[in-house]
């Protein structure tokens, strides 16, 4: 579904992503792991075109998206969760989620003439997810009024509601409590059962290896290992990258 080929990104003299190549298989959960500064988030930023790569190909669903804008990347079906909170702080939770459902809200005249209403179907979709994460009572709270864990859950739901073929999740459980962590992993496994493809970055090895079908390990901007979680657990290069020589 997603093919990265010879991707490169330098920041001055630092090779943040160095000739990186890997594939993400359809319907699978692929974990992108590696120590701090290994280039995982930069790779995510290159895929979603938050930053522009120096060279290399990013092919998604047979389309080269390397030169697409962030909104074009989203519109071909790549939905991304950021590591840092990106909630709309002055909008309510309900409004935050409704924004993700489609792009009819960007059509000025359609909205002014009242031809784009918030339908019951959209409301039900939002309510369904808010029920699922037990946050329906907070639907009219503003983004800025939520706790860190609540914000994380809402952002994960917003990423899921954004029409997608691939979910890219950058540290979905970083800083959340064990109960929420379990909850999030259940949601992700459910999505996988429904056929969603997921690419996730995670620092917590146990969480990542417990969920993933495939694991890609990066260090110093390079892919140093690929394989199933069991293979990765015993890979010498991976252990060296995490624990040092």
């Amino acid at each position: 579904m997603l093919k990265i080929k010879n991707l490169k990104k330098n920041f001055g003299g630092v090779k943040a992503v160095d000739n990186c190549s890997f594939e993400v298989a359809k319907g699978k959960i692929t974990a992108l792991i590696g120590p701090n500064g290994s280039g995982k988030s930069t790779t995510f930023n290159l895929i979603s075109h938050i930053i522009r790569g120096d060279s290399g190909k990013i092919v998604f669903d047979k389309i080269d998206i390397a030169k697409f804008s962030p909104e074009q990347v989203s519109n071909v079906g790549v939905s991304r969760l950021f590591q840092k909170s990106q909630l709309f702080n002055n909008l309510t939770i309900r409004e935050n989620l409704l924004l993700a459902i489609d792009n009819e809200d960007t059509k000025f005249w359609k909205n002014i003439l009242g031809k784009n209403k918030v339908t019951k179907e959209k409301e039900d979709q939002v309510s369904h997810w808010l029920d699922l994460i037990e946050m329906r009572h907070l639907s009219n709270k503003l983004g800025r009024e939520l706790s860190f864990g609540q914000k994380r859950l809402i952002e994960i739901v917003r990423t899921i509601l954004n029409p997608h073929k691939l979910l890219m999740l950058d540290e979905p459980v970083a800083g959340v409590n064990p109960r929420l962590r379990k909850y999030i992993s259940e949601i992700l496994l459910d999505l996988k059962k429904q056929g969603t493809t997921i690419l996730l970055i995670e620092h917590d090895m146990n969480f990542a290896l417990g969920l993933a079908d495939e694991v890609i390990v990066m260090d110093e901007g390079k892919v140093i290992a690929k394989g199933t979680p069991n293979k990765i657990r015993n890979n010498k290069k991976v252990l060296e990258a995490y624990l040092g020589d």
Binding site: S48, S74, L98, L99, G114, N116
Partner: protein, 290 residues
């Protein structure tokens, strides 16, 4: 005499209200720190003045004034699309100076510093609005339409997209929405209503020159939007009434007219400073100015 003075004040309040409501759409709802707003006011004033002086009916002239201002709003959004905060403020401020320089130097069109005089008072379908009280009714009607159109925009799903762009442009783009399209639409719409206000101003005063559209005219409008509160239309209405009328008593304190003007600016600056320190959201604002 006193009645005429109050009618005159009311007309100014309503024209400033249209201008402030239109700035609220760009600044309060979309987060565009647009210091070029007064330039759209100027474009609307000059376009309508030139058209009506050449015999065009007021109704068509006011619409063309709005559309031409909106077009310049769209044009301004192209080079400023990637600018934010201070940089956007500076770039849009530069636009004010560009328009000022054009109105001052394009003598064959604008008569430069001499300005355009004898601008006709409005007449619609044979109904003349030449008296101040009838002109007040016309401006109030246009202000009501402006208020409800902007209210409709901000309460529609499109309004939520404006707010999401203000709150977090990256996240909005990441949801598949073109923020260039969103911001240029907001700026053009905001400029449209500023152009309408400019047309009303020109046809009320019947004389315009470049000095009517400088940065000094922007200060009260900015104060109104910030003090009334960002993303609050009702706050804008109340702040317009209070702030436009507040310096009026200065006229009756016996100061020479050369002192009254600067004192008005001092009053606005002081109020703005106090509000920014003690009430950064303004009186009815939903968001803080960052």
């Amino acid at each position: 005499m006193i009645e005429a003075y109050f009618v005159h004040l009311a007309i100014l309040v309503v024209i400033y209200l249209i201008l402030a409501l239109s700035l609220q759409l760009a600044l309060g709802y979309t987060g565009l720190i647009n210091l070029g707003h007064i330039a759209f006011f100027a474009i609307g004033a000059y376009v309508s003045a030139l058209l009506t002086l050449n015999g065009m009916p007021f109704v068509i002239a006011i619409l063309i004034a709005g559309v031409v201002s909106a077009f310049f709003g769209f044009l301004l959004s192209i080079p400023t699309n990637k600018l934010k905060g201070d940089y956007l403020a500076l770039a849009t401020l530069a636009f004010t100076f560009v328009v000022y320089a054009v109105t001052l130097n394009w003598y064959s069109l604008t008569r430069g510093p001499l300005g355009l005089s004898g601008i006709p008072k409005p007449s619609i379908l044979g109904i003349s609005f030449s008296s101040n009280s009838s002109f007040l009714i016309l401006t109030i009607l246009i202000a009501i339409v402006t208020y409800f159109v902007i209210k409709k925009i901000t309460e529609s799903p499109f309004g939520k997209v404006l707010e999401s762009t203000r709150d977090n442009e990256l996240a909005t783009r990441n949801l598949g929405k073109s923020t260039f399209k969103i911001k240029s639409t907001a700026l053009a719409t905001s400029a449209f209503f500023a152009g309408i206000a400019g047309c009303l101003y020109a046809s009320y005063i019947t004389y315009i020159d470049p000095s009517s559209f400088t940065i000094m005219q922007l200060i009260p409008i900015l104060c109104i939007v910030i003090i009334g509160g960002l993303a609050s239309l009702n706050g804008t209405v109340l702040a317009t009434i209070v702030l436009i009328l507040l310096p009026e008593p200065l006229r009756f304190l016996g100061f020479p007219s050369s002192v009254v003007g600067p004192m008005r600016q001092i009053v606005y600056a002081l109020i703005l400073l106090l509000i920014l320190i003690y009430k950064p959201k303004g009186f009815f604002g939903k968001v803080e100015l960052e």
